[in-house]
Amino acid sequence: MKTASRILGTAFFEAGFEVQDAPRFGAERRGAPMFAYVRADRAPIHERGVIRDPDLVVVADDTLVPVAAAGVLVGVGERTVLLLHSAEGPELWRERLAVAGPVLTLPPAGEALDFVGAASAGAAARFVGVIPREGLERAIREELAEMPLALVERNVEQGLASFDAMAPHAGIVCEGRAADAADRTPPDWVELPFEAARVSAPAIHAGATSVEVRTGLWRTMRPVIDYEHCNRCSWVCSTLCPDSAIRVEADRTPRIDLEHCKGCMICAAVCPPHAIGAIPEREAAAQERGEAAPEGASR
């Protein structure tokens, strides 16, 4: 999404706009959810930081939408356009999310993660209606200049394809207006109460609280154990999983903890009888949805 924001930012800039674009990462590393944002205006931009009331939200990974912590829908209002890379149609999403604004979809990124940035930027460029096709192409080339040429061409192709595909929606995203200072709601400031150090020091008074963090959301590929072929060696996958996400039961059967598995696929690579396969997370999730309530729905 950082790539998408930079392509869109450059395209706006070339079209004569003042621009801000920036990525935001958490403390997590590669694989963890992140977002990026772009502001564009004819006038100099004085607002800074994360956008509170977006005119357009583009979601590269639709599995993040139901995750509150990912904050995908934060600030989405009546006129916010929502674009999702998803195998499911816009009607379904509109209904599911109960949002007032337009909802559109592009095909899921799947394993084509290398192109999701260009595809997103292409669609966004069309939505805003002020970026010409050739401007988009120049922006993609400029932002991806360090990539191998073949990859750049594929990106240009993807970017322009989604630009073209969204032709019916040209101009759907129009300029937002900052809230009027006259009808404001005051912030709910509080007097921060004094609390003794036993409560207010930056200390954690319990063990292994990290299990509350569902790093399973990082996964794009899911390891699946073929128990017919698993030889119950009892240690290889479990020892070498960096995230302690494979436990071995008393009968030496390994179980993968999908809440925390980040999908690194080390287990699949090291399994002596090759009994661990990999399936795209999206497919696995869809299968689960078809069968029963989504995993973790109880949380």
Partner: protein, 307 residues
């Protein structure tokens, strides 16, 4: 605790099958450093306090989440061994003055990356060795300042491309020999290890835990993000580091250095290098024969000297 020669870890099946380190940490998928810490923690147990210096693993404990079932104290980049000194001394004092019983005691473990261990923290490490501090130092060595995006550190291998050595020849320096620096000061124990060799790693942690005084285990930490390889290949990269002889597995104890794992004939270093994006410039667009020869020669010279 074992004495030398006796070990609970003879075979892979002896390794713990339940794991102490909690999941849900912020480390990259396929992190070799986290793999090492998770293996180490299972051997050390939760009666430990990890004293940490600024690095990737600082983000193990982000309020209110921690993967540790024991304790943790973050210091700063330069001074984790000094933090260990304070904790060790305080625990000793509490025991001597009978304010806590022996069951409350902890093994004090310094946990830092190579940036602190080889560089900024070396003075405080040196001081801790001088003072004979009873602690275990675990260095996860991912051969660069990984937490900030893999700039070169004094642990970066010759010719590796990093965020601050992007030229055709990569990093011009040579990896510092931290093992030798420690060993020269005659501490209780020094070892190198690799999470892809879990039995060897477990034995070394077991041995280190059974000794008193300054002890160091430097574990290679294959880094998918900084070294540019697929996370699934983390173990294979680690194994290749050992099999090519780039990362000798050895230990220093009682004044002697012993190599603990030898996997038959050494594989050419190239096999290790070509699997990682940080060395891709040695093969593409043209093979840099001279650099490749130089790297192989350095590894050969090491082994000729010890064999």
């Amino acid at each position: 605790m074992s004495t030398s020669g006796e070990t609970a870890f003879r075979r892979m099946k002896d390794l713990p099958s339940t794991h102490l380190l909690g999941g849900g940490t912020a480390m990259c998928a396929g992190c070799g450093g986290l793999q090492a810490i998770h293996e180490i923690y299972d051997v050390l147990g939760k009666k430990t306090v990890f004293v940490n210096a600024a690095g990737c693993m600082t983000l193990l404990s982000i309020y209110p989440f921690t993967p540790f079932r024991g304790s943790w104290l973050y210091t700063a980049m330069a001074c984790a061994p000094a933090g260990a000194q304070g904790v060790r001394d305080a625990l000793d004092i509490l025991r001597e003055k009978e304010r806590i019983g022996p069951e409350e005691d902890l093994e004090v473990v310094v946990l830092t990356g190579d940036g602190a261990a080889y560089g900024m923290g070396l003075a405080s490490t040196s001081g801790a060795i001088d003072r004979g501090l009873d602690f275990l130092y675990v260095c996860y060595d991912n051969e660069g300042y990984g937490n900030t995006g893999q700039q070169y550190s004094s642990a970066t291998p010759h010719a590796a491309r990093t965020a601050t050595s992007r030229g055709a020849a990569g990093y011009p320096g040579v990896k510092k020999d931290l093992f030798a620096i420690w060993a020269a000061n005659r501490p209780a124990y020094v070892a190198t290890a690799c999470p892809a060799e879990p039995v060897d790693l477990a034995r070394k942690i077991e041995k280190a835990a059974g000794l008193e005084g300054p002890r160091l285990v430097i574990t290679l930490a294959p880094c998918p993000t900084g070294w540019h390889f697929d996370p699934a290949d983390s173990v294979e990269i680690g194994q290749l580091a050992v099999r090519t002889g780039v990362w000798p597995l050895k230990e220093y104890v009682d004044g002697r250095v012993v190599h603990t794992v030898r996997r038959g004939k050494r594989v050419p270093v190239e096999e290790y290098l070509k699997r990682q994006g940080r060395f891709a410039h040695l093969f593409e667009p043209v093979r840099q024969e001279e650099l490749l020869r130089e790297i192989q020669a350095r590894v050969d010279a090491y082994w000729q000297a010890v064999e």
